[in-house]
């Protein structure tokens, strides 16, 4: 942080707003200060505290890739006080940003490996940063597969990017919607994400699985990965928990001996198993 005051946010201008799905929006944010923009760096997996001055702060991952400089993006669903206020913002408005906080996806360790990204609904944003990060450094990685599903076609986020990914020759994309969520012209799969994974039955050889989704999806996906012999060390996820400060002082995200904001939000399944179920 440029300021000595660790609580003082960067001033960010909303450069672009994209409606992703009902009540879900992506903001592209640019630093109001040139020098701060130049100095800013982050790694995939990290998050920030985004503020509406007067309403409060909210935790979202940085959903854009660190390879794309000059802006950061966040995707959020309108759910409470701060996200409600954010949803009222317009292009050109000022919001605050503190970050980057947290640990990162260890993408250097993944070089040369196959990567499978499994995401559901509003949980694609935390993985989008690392998917683009990997795609921007495509040569370093073996096969890249993305399995992404939502309740319905309307609920899929990053629809334009899904189209783009679907057309790329250097990755495999499987999109799916829950049974009943398809539209007449839907060309993707129909079925729950864990089922799609099961049908695909990827090999675990030299592969890393990165999973992010609502609790029920995680609960049903992990056994499939176990069945496919993915070890807890080769399975990654990113956690959410109640946060306030974002840097390990306020105590809200403390679970077991871990602070999700400091020691996470990226965890391997092996690390997750050591935590009490208090997140």
């Amino acid at each position: 942080m440029v300021s000595e005051n660790i609580y003082k946010p960067y001033k960010m201008r909303i450069a672009d707003i994209r409606e992703e799905a009902p009540a879900v929006r992506t903001f592209r944010l640019e630093f109001a200060d040139e020098a701060e923009a130049k100095a800013f760096n982050f790694k995939a997996g990290q998050f920030g505290e985004y503020s509406v001055f007067g309403e409060g702060e909210c935790t979202f991952c940085i959903a854009s890739s660190p390879t794309r400089r000059g802006y950061i993006e966040c995707t959020f669903r309108q759910a409470g006080r701060v996200t409600g206020a954010l949803a009222d913002r317009e292009v050109g408005d000022i919001v605050g940003f503190r970050g980057p906080y947290g640990n990162t996806f260890p993408i250097e360790q993944w070089e040369g490996k196959k990567l499978i990204f499994i995401a559901g609904g509003i949980a694609l944003p935390p993985l989008r940063c690392v998917i683009w990060n990997v795609l921007d450094l495509r040569d370093k990685y073996d096969d890249v597969t993305v399995i992404y599903g939502a309740r319905s076609v309307a609920d899929l986020v990053y629809k334009h990017e899904l189209e783009e990914w679907g057309q790329r020759k250097d990755m495999h994309l499987y999109t799916t919607v829950d049974p009943g969520g398809e539209t007449p012209d839907w060309k993707g799969k129909v079925g729950f994400v864990p089922k799609v994974l099961d049908d695909l039955a990827p090999s675990n050889a030299n592969t890393v699985a990165i999973v992010c989704g609502p609790p029920i999806m995680i609960k049903l996906t992990l056994p499939i990965l176990a069945k496919l012999n993915f070890t807890p060390e080769q399975t990654f996820t990113t956690l959410e928990n109640r946060m306030k400060c974002g840097f390990g002082k306020c105590g809200h995200c403390n679970v077991g001996k871990v602070y999700v904001c400091k020691d996470g939000p990226v965890f391997t399944l092996a690390q997750l198993k050591e935590l009490p179920a208090e997140y």
């Binding site: 503020s51 001055f53 309403e55 605050g96 109640r242 002082k249 001996k257 009490p276």
Partner: protein, 340 residues
């Protein structure tokens, strides 16, 4: 450690010298049966006979409410102010050794990777004149958490009343030395005066090392935690009177022209502490929140920060409306551990 003698009758002159240096002076003052730290000018205002204050001196370095961001609205723009931390030189007189040791606990969190300058500047500018204990009550348990009634850790000067007339003064830090130098004439060299014979004898009440070692295994024993916490009402009294509790909330307050962001005391005992906007609460029942308090102070703190999150002052137990006596509960946990 350099030692001096200060006559009790010189305390007034010391206070004058402290205040003449432009410092704010706080001391324990009794009112309506409660003793709290207030601004004082003379020793006559000090509480005569107290074992421990009701609220701690934590608010000197970590106030219940501190402004951390301030802004002004200018049309569509927001001007974020450069807030300067509070640096008023402050002397706190009459801090018990348990409380003195708590500042290091707070500091370990506020300087962990990121430096909270609001806290650190206050701490830098605060001088602690500790007062060793010649008496204790059933709630005290400093000796069970590796402290003792004459411990110098955390004090800049530690005063021990060795008889009715004088204090033995231990100069623990440079900050303490500066204060002594500012009123050098009041201090005489110490001889062989020992503080040991006047210090309170606080028996060890439970095996803390065993507790810390066994807590992870006790974590899943839901029934034990439920039994212990039935009386708990889920208020924040224990956390707020505790000198070592450091968890906080961040709240915005604003008007049309601008606003302020505040860092306020919070408690893991509140049900809201872990509540997600979605409605999911990782700790939905009081037994889990009670467990978190114990685990955080006696298991997670030692593991991550190499020291306990408790100094044995006993305030939580004195203040609890439901009489959740901490020593009783911790002893019961050690016993439960024995059954392993």
């Amino acid at each position: 450690m350099e030692k001096k003698i200060l006559k009790k009758q010189s305390l007034g002159a010391l206070f004058d010298a402290i205040k003449a240096g432009g410092r704010r002076l706080l001391g324990p003052v009794e009112k309506d049966g409660r003793t709290t730290y207030e601004e004082v000018s003379s020793p006559a205002e000090l509480a005569k006979d107290y074992i421990q204050t009701t609220t701690s001196a934590k608010s000197v370095v970590f106030p219940a409410c501190e402004e951390i961001v301030r802004w002004q609205n200018e049309g569509h723009d927001v001007k974020v102010a450069d807030l300067k931390p509070q640096t008023t030189p402050t002397v706190v007189f009459g801090v018990r050794p348990c409380d003195a040791a708590s500042f290091a606990i707070l500091d370990s969190v506020f300087s962990w990777d990121y430096n909270d300058e609001f806290f650190r500047r206050r701490l830098e500018n605060t001088t602690i004149i500790g007062l060793a204990c010649t008496k204790s009550d059933e709630y005290c348990f400093c000796t069970s958490v590796e402290l003792n009634p004459g411990d110098t850790r955390g004090s800049d000067l530690l005063l021990t009343p060795i008889d009715g007339e004088q204090y033995l003064v231990e100069i623990v830090t440079d900050k303490g030395k500066k204060l002594v130098d500012a009123a050098a004439k009041l201090f005489t060299p110490a001889g062989n005066e020992s503080k040991e014979k006047v210090l309170a004898k606080v028996p060890v009440k439970f095996d803390q090392k065993k507790l810390t070692a066994k807590l992870p295994a006790l974590f899943p024993k839901e029934n034990a935690w439920v039994d212990q916490s039935l009386a708990c009402l889920g208020c924040g009294a224990c956390a707020f009177v505790c000198p070592a509790c450091v968890c906080f909330d961040i709240q915005d307050e604003s008007g049309r022209n601008g606003g302020t962001r505040l860092r306020c005391w919070d408690s893991c005992g509140f049900s809201l502490f872990t509540l997600h906007t979605s409605g999911h609460n990782p700790r939905p029942v009081q037994s889990q929140r009670w467990r978190q308090r114990i685990m955080h102070k006696f298991s997670y703190f030692p593991e991550r920060l190499s020291h306990l999150g408790c100094v044995g002052c006993g305030r939580c137990s004195r203040a609890c409306p439901a009489d959740m006596n901490l020593v009783e509960h911790l002893s019961a946990l050690v016993e439960a551990a024995d059954g392993q």
